[in-house]
Point group: C2
Chain length 252, copies 2
Amino acid sequence: MIKKITIIGSGNIAHHLGVKLFNSGINIHQVLARNKKSGLKLASKINSIFINDIKKIEVSELILICVNDDNIYKIANQLPDIPVVHTSGNTSIEVFKNKKNSGVIYPVQTIRKNQRVNFKKIPICVEANNDLFQSKIINLCKLLSDKILVTSSEKRKKIHLSAVIASNFSNFCYTMSYNILKDNKINFDILHNLIIQTAKNCKLREPKLNQTGPAIRKDKTTIREHLASINDIHYKKIYKLLSENILKEHEK
Amino acid sequence: MIKKITIIGSGNIAHHLGVKLFNSGINIHQVLARNKKSGLKLASKINSIFINDIKKIEVSELILICVNDDNIYKIANQLPDIPVVHTSGNTSIEVFKNKKNSGVIYPVQTIRKNQRVNFKKIPICVEANNDLFQSKIINLCKLLSDKILVTSSEKRKKIHLSAVIASNFSNFCYTMSYNILKDNKINFDILHNLIIQTAKNCKLREPKLNQTGPAIRKDKTTIREHLASINDIHYKKIYKLLSENILKEHEK
């Protein structure tokens, strides 16, 4: 069982995983971060030592890399040969190709720093370069979540792409709605129930079968009026493109 | 208090409002529908008389029009002068300009026929052409929901537009994700928790502040790789446009 970990990063994922692992009895030996303020804050919260030089990394049973995708490769090449995992949805395990024990633990969730996260329900995609190390990181992940899936890098990338579309893009739809309502002095909370219900509906059946609205009804008058009433030219373009594609999807 | 109603239409809204009003003790005197099968089905469910000729409409205290936006105007012009409301988000009250008592009750929700609807939490936008009639339809709506808002046609149209973007478009994002996962033999339920959490987050703070993902991180490598991995040219176009706009929104 892995008991002693070093975390690299001090952003959203580093913070939430660090706190959760610490609360599960794991010794977070060191926190390596470029950002001194957030690195120190995280380290003090989880009874760990803050370092800002990769050469100061001491021996532990696992290095947990929680940094932006672009920096994983650079960091990986400077690490001592300690077992290592990253937490990215889109980065292949190949980034660790010279390591003896390496892997990935990718939590499928939108994670912000100042928000409570119930890890138990969050699916975690796990991958490792050998079976023994895989079973070790699965055991570690069981401290975090009840839903662990062994997933190849190729499949994980598809899951990450789908997660971006289902979560980041739908959140941008909420943002557009918020802005339109704000411009008209209407409180956004009028949409809360609708947004939650729309999300819940995809637990009931495949999302295509939940589609409602003017596009699927081929209600051209409403679509034309909506387009005419949108002031932002970018929002107008998005409205047009998504409406056309809802129609296309349902003509398949 | 309005006690005797005629419903026009037998689609999703007609069905749910009809059943809910009937269960609240309202006499649904007649159901007028073009579609004999669904009209008869609804009428029998709510102890009502099915008719398929507008000339057969008998006296009641309210006609509740639950048909597609394009047909409201046509129907309105053929009706006897009985108090009348429609249930459309995007149609102005002006469609009833020659009526003595007219109005709108627009439930802000995505409603499908074969799904339970908890009306109590659904905001209903109410509008009427005079105060007395307005208070009558507010009292009627109180049988349906705890959240009633008096809203002008102009504001209601903006609410409807925002609802389409927040609900129909986010559901289309779920559909795209479903299709990408299906093509890769991955079960969509891996995204359930993420989708629900993303929706719930907009109760906590304005959606812009909840934005995560490669676009807001300016993670161009991931965006490029995602684009390269999307086979559907339309999905590719949508991914590109939404990512560009997430960036734009956060540079404001």
